[in-house]
């Protein structure tokens, strides 16, 4: 789950990390009011920043500097309601629904600071770089020696000396060094406290008067922790997410939209990916990734079917279930129930293997509905591709 910049900055502030003064606005007039307040307090210019979940906003025109409240209003008007295309969105872009208006900062130094999971070392890692403002992947590719890393020991957490070591490593001394070391500890704590998968400040700036300020803010939350974090669930902006993905997640299904023609319903993420791969090999194109999960009941499968049918350009459906923790009979019942309720105007290919598969196949065969049954994955993919053409 991703948070907006303005949400992330509020969490930063609660942790004691300094951010520019500002406010969020969802109308040009509101943006102007925030800007007037900031200019009144002495700002010489303000930043107008589109609040969308995609990164790389600057390159897409989603960040603009305004020299007056009027200009801030104008920029806001130009952003709100439009589709913002950035290197991280598709060509269709994402809709801008609100902007953050912030006092401009007097930047002396731009740094990068992030905390994420280090999968190889199986712990959190703090990443810092003197190359602030650039995407960290680019820095990693072009100037790897500019990237500093400190592993966070799972038992002990990030230590003071590690924060100091990073701050000195960034070439800082004196007041900025101490300020940066403090922010590093605060950010690592925030990462832990929020059950994050990523917290990032890019750029973290040192101002002309030695203050350390988070000019940008990015927080991703581990979806697996949301069951214990109702406070974070409230920050979820569903309008930023694909409607079908949201609907799927409400039914504990994992769905990702793709642009092909063959709808897939598979149990298990690995098998789902392999099924997509197999469709491609057979000359077709998958319309989606859909994992009915490890403990799918008849109801879950029915819900999965409903979501699947809503995909555009659908020409065939391939159901591939290999029973383990999922039982074939449940799946079969779900399919039959769903086809009772959902109108299906494309051919359905079903492959059922594993636990209780025989019982499931029997149920499908005994039903009055029409399926194409397949034995192997290969055969199932070929049949679906054939039927989709």
């Amino acid at each position: 789950m991703k948070l907006h910049e303005y949400q992330s900055k509020k969490l930063f502030q609660q942790q004691g990390i300094k951010v520019p003064e500002g406010g969020v606005a969802d109308t040009p007039a509101a943006a102007r009011a925030v800007a007037e307040d900031l200019f009144g307090k002495g700002a010489s210019r303000v930043a107008v920043k589109a609040q969308v979940h995609a990164g790389g906003r600057g390159k897409g025109g989603g960040i603009k500097l305004a020299s007056s409240p009027e200009e801030a209003e104008l920029f806001t008007e130009g952003m709100l309601g439009t589709s913002l295309v950035t290197p991280q969105t598709g060509p269709e872009g994402v809709q801008v629904r609100s902007v953050l208006i912030e006092a401009g900062a007097d930047i002396a130094t731009e740094l990068y600071l992030g905390v994420t999971l280090d999968r190889s070392n199986q712990c959190a890692v703090v990443i810092a770089s003197s190359e602030g403002g650039m995407a960290i992947e680019e820095v990693a590719a072009e100037k790897p020696e500019a990237i500093l890393r400190e592993l966070v020991d799972p038992g002990w957490g990030l230590q003071g000396f590690q924060a100091r070591r990073l701050a000195y490593g960034l070439g800082l001394t004196g007041v900025p060094q101490r300020g940066a070391a403090k922010v590093i500890l605060q950010l690592a704590q925030l990462f832990q406290d929020l059950d994050s998968s990523l917290v990032e400040i890019n750029p973290l700036i040192i101002t002309a008067d030695d203050e350390v300020v988070a000019l940008d803010a990015k927080i991703n939350i581990d979806d697996n922790c949301l069951f214990r974090r109702p406070d974070l669930v409230e920050l979820r902006d569903l309008s930023e997410e694909d409607v079908l993905e949201v609907e799927a997640s409400e039914h504990n299904l994992t769905y990702n939209a793709l642009d092909g023609t063959i709808g897939c319903m598979v149990n298990g993420a690995g098998l789902a990916m392999a099924t997509m791969d197999e469709i491609l090999l057979a000359g077709g194109s998958p319309a989606n990734f859909l994992d009915v999960g490890g403990s799918a009941s008849a109801e879950t499968v029915a819900n999965a079917f409903r979501i699947l049918m809503k995909a555009p350009d659908l020409q065939a459906v391939l159901i591939n279930i290999c029973g383990g923790i999922v039982r074939g009979d449940r799946v079969a019942k779900g399919i039959i129930e769903a086809l009772d309720q959902v109108e299906v105007n494309v051919p359905v290919v079903v492959r059922l293997q594993g636990t209780n598969a025989e019982e499931g196949r029997r149920l499908l065969a005994e039903s009055s509905l029409e399926f194409t049954l397949a034995e192997t994955l290969n055969e199932a993919a070929s049949k679906a591709v054939e039927m989709s053409q």
Partner: protein, 291 residues
């Protein structure tokens, strides 16, 4: 021979009275696995299926029934504590089936298990089976057959798929292991490769990877360094778009890293036979072993 579990393994099931726990415990018992105890706090004293004693704590199960392997079906909110309880009680292997455990919980759990000398398999995994000896997990036992192939996979159902093929081609398995689809697994490909290398009965290894992370690249490094067994590999997710989590918490292409193409390249260069369809895994292994 086999690795991780065999006919001597004494299993305690944590969460034995839950819906999934009880179903799969029955299946394991039916397969012939020695399930010696169950644990559900508050249900100590009852008997599961009129024969398996249930305890309040894992310590009791270890002390009274000599359990040395834990199989964990506890819901995500309590799973981290359950795995640590198993490790603290001294089981040598904890198999955590549970899906959806927060990643930072797992960071702690993995380190905790290491500090206690307990091997953790999973979480979010199908478990481990040594065909004909013991099944500690949720895989369908009947597709497996005793033999000489070691199977390692980040996936569940895709593994059953591969095993089914192997069995149909007459290639039985020493042990088949699902290491799980989470970003912080207790046991890695590398761990399993090393165990198979020391198992005299394993003649070849099937490695089923997927997008995300660098576990396959790390496996490739070990294989490149004079690995004694032939390895056949399939990597799922060639069609997966970047930045999207493909079901498994660990299956995500992040910052341009973790693509199927990279992984296949690393494995190929290490001498692995990489196949582009899961349908031909068994066939590829047959060719290698007969060639």
């Amino acid at each position: 021979m086999s690795i991780m579990v065999d006919g001597e393994s004494r299993i305690v099931v944590q969460g034995i009275t839950g819906s999934e726990g009880s179903f799969h415990t029955s299946q394991c018992i039916e397969y012939g696995t020695q399930v010696v105890a169950g644990v559900t706090p508050g249900k100590g004293g009852m008997l599961f299926e009129e024969k398996v004693p249930v305890f309040n704590t894992v310590s009791e199960a270890v002390e009274k029934e000599g359990a040395d392997v834990a199989m964990i079906f506890v819901p995500p909110a309590f799973a981290a504590d359950a795995v640590k309880e198993a490790a603290d009680a001294g089981v040598r292997l904890a198999v955590c089936i549970t899906e959806g455990i927060p990643a930072l919980d797992m960071v702690e759990v993995v380190a905790y298990c290491k500090s206690r000398g307990t091997r953790l398999l999973g979480p979010n995994c199908p478990g481990v089976i040594s065909p004909g000896k013991a099944k500690v997990g949720i895989m369908p036992g009947f597709v497996h057959q005793e033999g000489s192939i070691g199977v390692i996979s980040r996936s569940g159902t895709l593994t059953y798929e591969a095993v089914d093929q192997l069995t149909r081609l007459g290639l039985g398995q020493t042990t088949s292991i699902g290491i799980g689809g989470d970003p912080i697994p207790g046991t890695s490909f590398v761990d399993c490769l090393e165990m198979f290398a020391e198992d005299p009965d394993t003649k070849g290894v099937v490695l089923i990877g997927e997008i995300g992370g660098t576990a396959e690249e790390e496996a490739a490094a070990v294989i490149a360094d004079d690995y004694p067994l032939p390895v056949v590999s399939f990597i799922a997710g060639s069609t997966a778009p970047p930045g999207k989590r493909m079901g498994h918490a660990g299956a995500i292409i992040a910052g341009g890293k973790g693509t199927a193409a990279e992984k296949m390249k690393a494995l190929s260069e290490a001498g692995v036979t990489v196949v582009d369809s899961p349908s031909v895994i068994g066939q590829a292994m047959t060719e290698i072993l007969s060639g």
